[in-house]
Symmetry: C2
Subunit: 200 residues, 2 copies
């Protein structure tokens, strides 16, 4: 697992690997660890978000896709990557980390995080999905409270992969529990009580 021989830091950081072959089931990199970005030449990779609650599926990468691009920005991986099939990986954009692409890199990282959020909204119990969606849509106001503009039930149902009836029931329960306080009916602003909402 660990390096057998002690290598000077400069030497260890210098030689970027040029091709990696991974066997099915093997972990490619761990979340929050350092490394380079990779392009998947062959195989399939599963990305997972690691939280205190455990790991949850956060993305899929197939042939041609790039994984770990966020490391070029943050210096560490946001997700964990595991090979779902035998893989060949090649380093991606190691040297020519063009400063003109900074904005694009940020956008790429944000897109992947948002995709992971959306995936998470389709796992777990119905009530929890709707609750998480509300928290995702909430914004802090000037007075310190949070508010959300509730979308239509159709949209919430499509996002969470539930039915409108189930979403409506979950919203009613959130209101009964005091997490949501209706401000005005229909496409209205609704308050989120932080002390309740923050107990994620």
């Amino acid at each position: 697992m660990h390096a057998v021989i002690a290598i000077p830091v400069s030497a260890a950081a210098a030689p970027p690997p040029h091709l990696r072959k991974i066997t099915m089931g093997e972990r490619i990199y761990a979340a929050a660890s350092a490394g380079v970005a990779w392009r998947v030449r062959r195989g399939a990779v599963r990305l997972d978000r690691i939280t205190s609650a455990g790991r949850s599926f956060a993305g899929l990468a197939l042939q041609g896709d790039v994984i770990g691009a966020e490391t070029l920005l943050f210096g560490q991986y946001s997700f964990e990557a595991c090979a779902i099939g035998d893989c060949e990986l090649e380093p991606w954009l190691t040297a020519e980390k063009a400063p003109s692409g900074e904005s694009l890199l940020q956008t790429l990282a944000a897109t992947e995080r948002r995709a992971a959020d959306a995936l998470a909204l389709r796992a777990g119990e119905a009530f929890e999905r709707v609750r998480q969606l509300c928290l995702l849509l909430a914004r802090a106001r000037d007075d310190g409270r949070w508010e959300i503009a509730i979308p239509g039930l159709k949209d919430m149902a499509a996002i969470t992969n539930l039915t409108e009836a189930t979403v409506s029931r979950a919203m009613s329960r959130l209101r009964r529990m005091g997490m949501l306080q209706r401000q005005d009916r229909r496409r209205a602003l609704v308050f989120v009580r932080p002390e309740v909402a923050c107990a994620i």
Copy 2:
């Protein structure tokens, strides 16, 4: 709904808008139409993939996220975008479409497509989800048949948000139906009969 006054095409196409305010429920752009990329300054946006079977949720964009970046590459939007809340949009990367960012743009577009694929794997009936996952993992071989390296049930269950038992039942059914032919047991190569698989 329609333009009240007829505007010359050159005039209509010339001035890139500098800020767009969208009201909840309004469509921002249609799939396969032309336009610019946008950054969401405020609000929430729902992305949908438009297929012959209808529209299906394909992504979420919140404050700070970029939508429609693929139009810089392909000249048209891949998804449809609708405002889930009142939005403010500003054009993104219209002028300085740096050629050095070409690779990054392609990666960004691919990432969004893959995220939409992953989301689709968590909607619909269990059997169909597993079937679509198999098709996604399948690769064409030299002899014209398709093959897939089946991941573990744990992985397939995590991706589709089903249980191992349900995935196993779906895989058995695929085998009984002749779509999959087991090549060798356990982490094995399995053949996909194209004539069956292509009847998506």
